[in-house]
Subunit: 656 residues, 2 copies
């Protein structure tokens, strides 16, 4: 098979100037990263201690003390460094870079002579690699490697990269098919995709072969996990997870034989990302097809309309096909990041737009829902339906927070959101010799290298408030080159003009190819259909039967108590009446809210009987919906994505 992978445009070659997205992106540099630095140094009053830097100071002998925090506490600084790297790649920031260099110094000095690096095992002297099931050593190593590669690419400094090469070499000497090596693999994947990143930057084949080993060894019988040392000694990192089962980490059988994604959603997404990377590097068509099959299982059977995954809180995990409860789900922000990474990889390998449709859905909805407009409050868990009075009194929903939280003890999500926002242009653009792929319609200018120089384009849009996209050339090409603009699946209709004239252009795999000898000020304008639309869920999913969700472009809307009063469960949307754009108080103007008509169940007196013969009655009402990503920015209240579909009541009988 002839596969060639699209490349990311260098972060420094993209300037994002979209008011909506820039609000969030700027928060990373101005609020999130400085705040997280204070956090990992335990200097935030009132916040739970992180102990992250504390552990490194002890591991490298600067201080005496015990390891504190969880076993994978090191990853907090790794993800912080990765986000710092992306920020520095875009523009210099001496202060951040100095902080990062200091952290890297500490990390490098904590490393053992043989390259091993994990403060938990170094400090506690617990036996290395004795609990791959839950010990998270390879997961932690993976995040270190990702950070170091990003930092090297941003700054050109080699110290951190050299450190993680020694770490990767240590792992390479320890794990593998060869006799004398451990035949294990990680309970929590991440090392696989990290090794590929390291391979791509160093060109050291052993990192690829180690990633290959981890992917292909996984799930072989007899299971390594069932016979590893902690099972014999009883010395588990997390005894309470010891019986989660092999499917919890997709290790119940070889990945090639699995037909559904299972277990912990973040683990699965990271694993599949690494699997796609290996499939590409080895040009293994069969493995790539399997990645696609599992991606389809996620997106067509197990993904919320908001682009989130993980239907169950217990185990933060996938459940059965079509099981998508709206008020008890986990839908972790980190899992959405993982899904976006996996999908982006699949797009870059296959050049197919369906993957970026999912990325767009994930970023515009769950990723942004994870962060408050103030940049200081975060959701880890992203339900599609919240009634605070219920959620706060029912421990089945104890993972559901009715307000975004400042930070958490296990602080995975905020830095994961930060590193995604800081590297957002990797999702907007990709390129090869022949084309620049434009995936997301986020206002920005891009410089793309072509034979004999660079081409520059600027994208103008007020998307998805408007479906009108303009891309202007800011340079002159010396050879024909294509703009490949993603045609979102939701937009059946579209129109493309170049310099004011309608053109027919090739459509391939979800992309519109506009090929020409670009001249300065050439203007491509495209109109997609971003009318409000009511969407329905496949009735195999019992939770959404008789319900509808409002969307506009990739944006999923929700009802909030702030606009509609309480008892949202009793609201019926008239899906055949027009939906109008609207502005609501307390949200940014560009956020794009909506009004439409419907009816609501008349609420009886508080003391009416719990059960009775009286049928409910309804009253007409006007409803207001806001983008799901922006919910809970105006105080605590009810929220609901899937509304009762009132159309059979309003307009038609059941015979349709």
């Amino acid at each position: 098979m002839e596969l060639h992978r699209l490349q990311n445009v260098k972060l420094s070659d993209v300037t994002i100037n979209d008011p909506f997205w820039n609000h969030y992106i700027n928060l990373v540099e101005t609020v999130i990263l400085p705040f997280q630095w204070e956090l990992i140094n335990d200097r935030v009053e009132g916040a739970e201690k992180s102990y992250c830097m504390h552990n490194f100071r002890i591991a490298c002998g600067d201080e005496k003390g015990e390891h504190l925090g969880t076993v994978f506490q090191d990853t907090d600084v790794a993800k912080w460094l990765e986000a710092v790297a992306y920020t520095l790649a875009k523009k210099p920031n001496k202060k951040l870079e100095a902080l990062a260099d200091g952290a890297i110094d500490l990390i490098s000095r904590a490393q053992c002579p043989d390259g091993y690096l994990d403060t938990y095992f170094i400090i506690t002297k617990q036996k290395r690699w004795s609990d791959l099931y839950e010990g998270h050593e390879l997961y932690t190593a993976g995040h270190m490697i990702e950070a170091a590669v990003a930092y090297y690419e941003a700054t050109g400094k080699r110290r951190f990269l050299d450190t993680v090469c020694r770490l990767a070499d240590c792992i390479y000497r320890t794990f593998g098919r060869e006799e004398g090596k451990i035949h294990g693999y990680p309970g929590h994947p991440e090392i696989e995709l990290a090794l590929i990143r390291l391979y791509r930057v160093t060109q050291e084949k052993r990192y690829l072969s180690l990633a290959d080993y981890f992917i292909r060894e996984r799930g072989k019988s007899p299971s390594y996990f069932l016979n590893e040392e902690c099972r014999k000694t009883g010395n588990y990192i997390f005894p309470e997870f010891a019986d989660f089962g092999l499917d919890y980490m997709m290790a119940q059988k070889p990945l090639q034989e699995q037909t559904t994604v299972e277990g912990h959603a973040v683990r699965a997404a990271y694993l599949l990302s690494g699997m796609a990377d290996v499939a590409y590097e080895e040009r293994d068509d069969t493995l790539l097809k399997q990645c696609d099959a599992l991606w389809n299982n996620i997106t067509q059977k197990k993904m919320y309309i908001t682009g989130s995954i993980g239907s169950a809180s217990y185990g933060e995990r996938f459940t059965g096909n079509y099981d998508l409860p709206n008020n008890t789900n986990y839908s972790e922000s980190c899992a959405t990041v993982g899904l976006a990474q996996f999908s982006n990889r699949m797009f870059q390998i296959t050049h197919s737009g369906k993957y970026m449709d999912t990325v767009e859905q994930a970023l515009y909805n769950t990723l942004l829902a994870g962060i408050a407009l103030d940049g200081k409050h975060f959701f880890y868990v992203n339900p599609l339906e919240v009634i605070p009075e219920v959620a706060e009194h029912n421990p089945t929903m104890r993972h559901i927070k009715t307000m975004r939280q400042q930070w958490f003890g296990v602080a995975c999500c905020p830095p994961n959101i930060a590193r995604t926002l800081a590297s957002l242009s990797n999702y907007i653009y990709a390129y090869d010799e022949e084309a620049l792929y434009v995936n997301l319609f986020i206002q920005s200018c891009v410089k793309v290298p072509v034979k004999g120089g660079n081409l520059r384009f600027c994208l103008h849009a007020d998307y998805p408030n408007s479906g009108h996209i303009e891309i202007q050339s800011d340079s002159t090409a010396e050879a024909p080159f294509s703009l490949a603009v993603r045609k979102p699946a939701y937009s059946a209709k579209y129109q493309v003009c170049v310099n004011g004239s309608k053109v027919d252009c090739t459509q391939r795999d979800g992309y519109l190819f506009i090929k020409r000898m670009w001249k300065r000020e050439d203007l491509v304008s495209i109109d997609f259909d971003v009318q409000f639309r009511f969407v329905y869920c496949n009735p195999h999913c019992s939770d959404n039967i008789g319900k509808t969700a409002l969307m506009k472009g990739p944006v999923v809307y929700c009802l909030e108590e702030a606009d509609n009063g309480s008892h949202l469960a009793g609201i019926y949307a008239d899906t055949e009446a027009p939906v109008h754009s609207a502005f609501v108080k307390g949200l940014p103007e560009e956020s794009g809210s909506a009004t439409f008509s419907g009816c609501r169940t008349v609420m009886p007196q508080k003391d009416n009987p719990l059960y009775g013969l009286e049928k409910p009655t309804y009253e007409a009402c006007t409803l207001t919906a806001v983008p799901y990503a922006l919910w809970n920015n105006r105080g605590k209240g009810e929220m609901r994505v899937w509304m009762n579909d009132g159309s059979p009541m309003f307009h038609r009988n059941w015979r349709g």
Copy 2:
């Protein structure tokens, strides 16, 4: 206040001959009690070990070994003995009595010289009364006392009664307001109601005063629980429950100040039963009103239509008002037994029919759902909606079993169901000097003591298949005496005839009083309205918005996959079309099934998109519903009580 409590008719004075109920009642003597005896003696191959009798043998020195099983393992034999007692009270059974005497001998010999009796604390030598929060000593003592009182009443044998009097005296010397005594009270109530039973049979005032103390001390500030010994030593029985909070056991403030029931449903129901007992014995009108207020909170805000309670699995507990999820609830069989006990006490004290309406609902639905038709399989947890494919793959529902189980490690529910069935006539009849109260329309003959002799009546019914009830006098009265027949709240219409002639009779608090000088063969016939009816839930409960449940008399119906195919979530009931009686294969004829019309969502191809613009379509269908109590007697499959109400689609627009 002039309160007088109605009395139970002696178990030996009621003969139940109802084919439907006798099936279950007979199972107690022929299947459940013999099987449980084998179980508590660890002689059932393949079953989890109980260790219950093992512990007693060790505690009394017959064997050497350790305590095994949970801290309240002793209650299994207590509940078994209580059920045996009720069985013996009805008719002799030498074999069962001999087994019981043997167990009682062992129990009595295990008792400490000072009266203390709890094999866990005796064997482990863990400090007595050091963890009232979760130690369950007073709970265990309560069950022993209940069993002993029942056994004394059934057999006249005093040995067990004397044993528990020494136990109660030991507790009396240990707990109380007086200086030098422990000022604590149980985390798991049960001792309160047990002490009242002991007081009533022994007339020893100290047992009443001890029950009074436990009820009134509860929740005082500063909390005893927060300062008890286990909190200081860290030596908890169940460390994982240590932070469940005081409201988990309704000890967050004095009972008089609580406005809602909270926490563990069984604890709450047992506590309220004891509170009602104390209120009656002390003629404390205020305390009784508080019992009624809390009973109202349960039945009007927190009770499932099937008469079950406990909306959350985590903590097996109550949640907020109107929070009644149908597929993640706990609804423990034991909690329904507790609710029936509490309600029956409130009825006996106030003579008000509303309490027995709830008892009827609880017994006909959740209690019977707890036991399979074969008497060998049990549900602990009673959801109102099950999709096996979903429940078996979503750990949020890991407490939900898709088939009844043979027995469990903590075997609370089967013996609790057994003791309720064995003493069922206590729910059917009650009496005072002036009237025999007829609460449940279960075929039976009763002998009721009146001044100067006994009166005998026989009740004939095929209820609720038919609402026609006949009560025939089988004796001649020497003074006027009333039959007080409960008029179920659901039956707005009714007609009473005596000897064929319509009579007007006094209606008071839900009872029809038929007062006369009874002659042999006097025949009262009453017709209640037991037409099928579609019931609606108060829309404050978001889970049942737009839904309806089918009932007939107290019986709640459900759809099962066996009759209707899968995807029950997509079914819409036509609530305005007639409902017909029907028979279904595989269930007893007298169970009374129903058919009615509706429509179902047409299921798309398996591979259709998860989300799309296509509206669902429907097709007409005939639906079959069976009594909820009988679900899951025909193999694994979907079940659903609350169906989508199709009437707005079928017949009317939303303006009603």
